[in-house]
């Protein structure tokens, strides 16, 4: 026997090495490799390779930054002009969209919906890949020290990229891309609202599965995250339907082109915190009749209020960018800055359906600094008082005084000659609403 082994020494060693690897492979497959701690060999390999990648990426970015920021400035003026025009256009669009968003929030409040906010993200640089076509994953230069944990969503401005798979050390993590065959994303079609599971294929394509074959899906329809996987916040763009065909087991096979360019990832955002809460009703929700009345008064400049300078005081979501001061709308007196639908909402419902008044004060109208004054009042007084029962607004006397100061403090050029639907700054109403108040 010993002679036989010596004689076939090479083959014996080959069989031994292969057997050891097969054994190790079988043990890994038997266990759930997702939940077991990271193997030491992976840590060694990542620590051996990623420092080189980081150095090269750092040099590359430095060189590119030096070139683009200091030397290659051709066309920058024209680009600047274009960007300014784009900003103007986007501001107008933002005003329109924010109105829609307000309305949507109010409706969500009425229905008791909860909404998710991406409240914190960490920007990371992609420094490497797995180097295998069968393993579609990348490495980023942020790790445990930046608060990165497994199963965090990774996105770009274009759409969803993947999720954090492993965190190797303080500044390296592995991200599983959505086109890997082991990934899965809960997705929903934007128009038809059909839900499915987004998966990668061995060929690196992305398909939406689990949509019944009797449904109609058109190419070109956008695919969003559904939030059902508890990893990706709801509503993030995933991609666009490119091809629809019948798949196995009465399901459609929907091919999706990812919104993010997964083959050329440079910088990504890791969503480290998602808040789920009921939408804030205070932005345009129930208001005191005094506030509405104040809005209908002739235009007066608002007093600079220390509270008004606090951005985002109502949403609590740190990444929700408050819209810039809206351009003055050429509305006449008697109109309000709110859409008619606000007043059109049955106020009785608005008061009664307001879910669980919080004991904390609610900041009303803090959304835009130049449209509504910041008024603090208990949430329990969220009913709108009928205008007929409302006391005369004391500051109305001060209108003339404030109009005098309008020329000095406000920007008359930006205002129409008639009333601007700006509320009268009123003192904080800390007392609860009288019980006799009835919905308007």
């Amino acid at each position: 026997m010993e002679n036989l082994i010596t004689r076939y020494r090479n083959v014996t060693i080959l069989v031994a090495v292969l057997f050891a690897q097969v054994l190790g492979l079988a043990m890994q497959v038997k266990r759930n490799t997702e939940n077991e701690p990271t193997r030491l060999i992976r840590i060694w390999a990542v620590n051996a390779v990623t420092p080189f990648e980081k150095v090269i990426v750092w040099c590359q970015r430095g060189t590119a930054g030096l070139w683009h920021n200091y030397f290659y400035l051709r066309g920058v003026r024209q680009e600047n002009r274009d960007l300014k025009a784009e900003i103007q256009r986007l501001r107008l669009e933002q005003v329109r969209l924010s109105e829609d968003a307000e309305q949507a929030r109010r409706l969500q409040v009425l229905l008791g919906f909860k909404e998710q906010f991406i409240s914190k993200t960490v920007a990371a640089q992609v420094i490497g890949s797995s180097g295998s076509e069968q393993s579609r994953s990348v490495y980023i230069d942020k790790g445990a020290s930046a608060g990165i944990k497994p199963d965090m969503a990774v996105i770009t401005s274009d759409g969803v990229v993947g999720k954090v798979l492993r965190v190797y050390n303080s500044n390296t993590a592995q991200v599983l891309l959505i086109d890997d065959q082991t990934s899965g994303v809960g997705a929903i079609l934007e128009k038809s609202r059909l839900q499915g599971v987004l998966r990668g294929t061995p060929a690196g394509e992305v398909v939406l599965e689990k949509v019944m074959s009797d449904e109609t899906v058109q190419p070109g329809e956008a695919v969003l995250t559904s939030g059902g996987d508890r990893i990706f916040p709801k509503g993030l763009p995933v991609g666009t339907v490119t091809k629809v065909s019948s798949g196995p087991d009465f399901f459609l096979s929907i091919r999706v082109k990812p919104a993010a360019n997964l083959s050329k990832l440079d910088e990504v955002l890791v969503v480290t915190s998602v808040e789920e809460k009921e939408p804030a009703v205070n932005e345009a929700g129930p208001m005191r009749a005094a506030d509405i009345l104040a809005q209908r008064l002739p235009s007066v400049p608002e007093k600079p209020s220390p509270d008004a300078s606090k951005p985002g005081g109502t949403t609590g979501a740190t990444t929700i960018v408050q819209p810039p001061p809206r351009p003055a709308k050429p509305e006449t007196a008697g109109t309000t800055s709110q859409k008619p639908s606000v007043a059109g909402v049955p106020l009785g419902q608005a008061g009664s359906a307001s879910p669980k008044p919080k004991p904390s004060d609610v900041t009303v109208g803090a959304k835009t600094a130049n449209t509504t004054a910041v008024t603090t009042k208990p949430a329990s007084s969220a009913l709108i008082k009928p205008a007929t029962e409302q006391k005369p607004v004391p500051p109305a006397v001060k209108v003339s005084d404030q109009v005098k100061t309008a020329g000095s403090e406000a920007k008359p050029a930006a205002k129409p000659p008639v009333a601007k639907p700006k509320p009268q700054p009123v003192e904080p109403q800390l007392e609860p609403a009288p019980p006799e108040d009835k919905p308007h």
């Binding site: 080959l14 060999i41 060694w44 390779v49 180097g131």
Partner: protein
């Protein structure tokens, strides 16, 4: 054809310095992980496999060849998110086969290097496919067209790469 049968006494056995033996595989794995981020088509190349073939053929020792293949394959496995050992097994087989072939054949010229790489790339993919499907349960699609195209590309790259790596050879 440039592949010629030689006796074991006629073929030269090379060795490599320790830094070269460590750094060359590391750089190959590093390039394999980094370059596809910038050049997407680069993912059809398998630089670690080419390095395994080069070392195995140059050293002409089956045991060293299979151990080199196992080490490089396991290193490559470690960068993926799949179970460790799929590339390890495939490259172990390739390392053993290439070194065994190197003992018998003269593979020092460009033509033989092209053919050897072409053959071992296909062999590597077959072993990888079998292990990944049979042991790990991955869903893989075999496409002869894709594999032959990749094999040709790798064989062409091998000719140039081996000429570069010849500089690190040391005669025993």
């Amino acid at each position: 054809m440039p592949i010629t049968y030689t006796s074991q006494e006629q073929v030269e056995v090379y060795r490599f310095s320790i830094p070269a033996a460590i750094l060359i595989p590391l750089i190959a794995v590093f390039l394999q992980a980094f370059v596809p981020l910038k050049l997407g088509f680069f993912s059809i190349f398998d630089l670690p496999l080419l390095v395994v073939i080069f070392f195995a053929v140059a050293r002409r020792s089956p045991v060293t060849g299979l151990l080199t293949g196992a080490a490089i394959g396991l290193l490559q496995d470690s960068l993926t998110h799949q179970p460790i050992g799929v590339y390890g097994i495939a490259k172990t087989v390739v390392g053993y086969g290439a070194s065994s072939l190197g003992v018998k054949l003269d593979v020092e010229n460009a033509g033989s290097r092209f053919l050897v790489t072409l053959f071992f790339y296909i062999a590597h993919e077959i072993v990888y496919f079998a292990v990944a499907r049979g042991l790990v349960g991955l869903t893989l699609q075999w496409s002869w067209l894709h594999e032959l195209g990749s094999a040709l590309a790798n064989a062409l790259l091998a000719v140039a790469l081996f000429a570069l790596l010849d500089r690190f050879k040391q005669r025993t």
